[in-house]
Amino acid sequence: MKDLSQLDVPGPTKTPLTAPFWENAAEGKLTIQKCGSCGEHFFYPRPLCPNCWSSDVAWTEVRGSGRLKSFSQIWKPGHPGWLPVTPYLVGLVELDEGPTLLSHILVERNEAKIGDRLEFIPQNIGGQMLPCFKYPDNKEEPV
């Protein structure tokens, strides 16, 4: 497994509203917002529910499991800081609670297929713990 922690890559541009997502993930808890009015989970963070515009929204820990909706193996990254670890995999993960996240998928090349079950795991990328995903059967051990 390539060492992602040493990469010189841009991290998230957090705001006070979004900080809990990143901070909780770094501590091993995947949290997204849930609307107390319509009951929908949603991602990414907003001050109001994008479904019903209620302000009754709260951070809630989700199971951290989901389904790989699509993926791409990146050979020519947009940011040169990622070059040392090419090719690597990014994917769209549809959480069991509904919302979809784009994330880094910890897997050896060509192993992924659409529909695979994945699990959340915090991963050090460029010195920051970010919410990534891995295969539940430990096909691949994270760094």
């Binding site: 890559v9 841009p10 991290g11 998230p12 541009t13 957090k14 705001t15 979004t18 991602f43 990414y44 909706k69 699509s70 993926f71 791409s72 193996q73 990146i74 050979w75 020519k76 990254p77 947009g78 940011h79 990622w82 670890v85 090719p87 690597y88 990014v90 994917g91 769209l92 979809t100 996240l101 784009l102 994330s103 880094h104 297929k113 659409i114 990328i125 920051q128 970010l130 990534c132």
Partner: protein
Amino acid sequence: MRHLSPRAAISGIGELKPVRRTEGVTTLELLMQVSALALEDAGIGPDQVDGLLVGPQVGETPQHVPAMVSEYFGLQPTMSNMVDLGGASGPGMIWRAAAAIAAGQCETVLCVLGNHRNTPAPRSPNRNPAREFDPPFGASGANTSYALLMQAHMAAFGCAAEDYAVIAAGARGNAQLNPDAIFYGQPADVDEVLASPMVASPLHLFEIVMPVAGGDAVVVTTAENAKEGPHRPVHLLGAGEKITHRVVSQAPNLTSGPLKPAMARALSQSCLGIEQIKFLSLYDCYTIMVATTIEDAGLCGPGQFANWLRDNGGMGPQANQPINTHGGQLGFGQPDLAGGMTHVVEAVRQIRGNAGERQIPDCETALVTGNGATMSEAVALVLGGAQ
């Protein structure tokens, strides 16, 4: 569905030959040069322009863009605005121009887009969800987003890499009939497309547009005014627009996009069926975009684009419904936001009947599509020679 009334027409077009580099040139210089070409083509002077639509990427002018461009051009329009729909900005300008004319606010609208390419391009200072939630994981903008869309499409319908490569090869083939195209003199067959370097699987380099500098301008005026011009007027018969999301993780559907309802609205307004459209001028930032658009237009069922293309006789001027005869952006190059306008300009050439050796026989109608962001901003136009 409400119809467009009264109808507007395109009376002038201008286009700069794309180039890879423009050291020291400003966007405003290119915009003024391409606008002069369009006004000359329309047979009018700047005193007859009372509307102005511009794009957001006038690098020197982050704010007050319409005023800056107006002042630079020596115009004092009664309607001006900025259209910010990514690759759909050009087609989005055309119906907005027609709407402004119909609202009685102006008579002749100059729609212009262009970009320089000076080194180095600045990195985006954005602070928005598109910046916060994708790049930290190694995703890199449009290439990653369209790779994810293409992978989902391949998996959903069992399409092969060769199926999509046919679209890049077809675009390169058409570019051999356009001396202005960046890939003029550089055809590529399906094997060469598949042998080009993998950028973001399943997208190969030749399936991705080449960024270039350039510019496109279009004059939209009343149907009555257009009759006085030197060229056959090209009428706006229908338009449709739809925005569904911005970042790819928020896409409601990975294998069908907002062009589907946009094209349906444009066709409905024009009272034409898709089979009555002769020329398909389809936004092609990536091969997958053309595949999805063919399917969303109702030309064939989901996953059937490759069979349809084969039955269509390919994409060239002699095909049943030719596609992107100027080479598309895959063959012509993508002059940033002006890339979307190249599809309007080529449709006008074809309907006028002055497309030279790539002229489509009896081309009376065209469908033009524009697409922005991650298959998220869509505009469709139906253009026709008859009113």
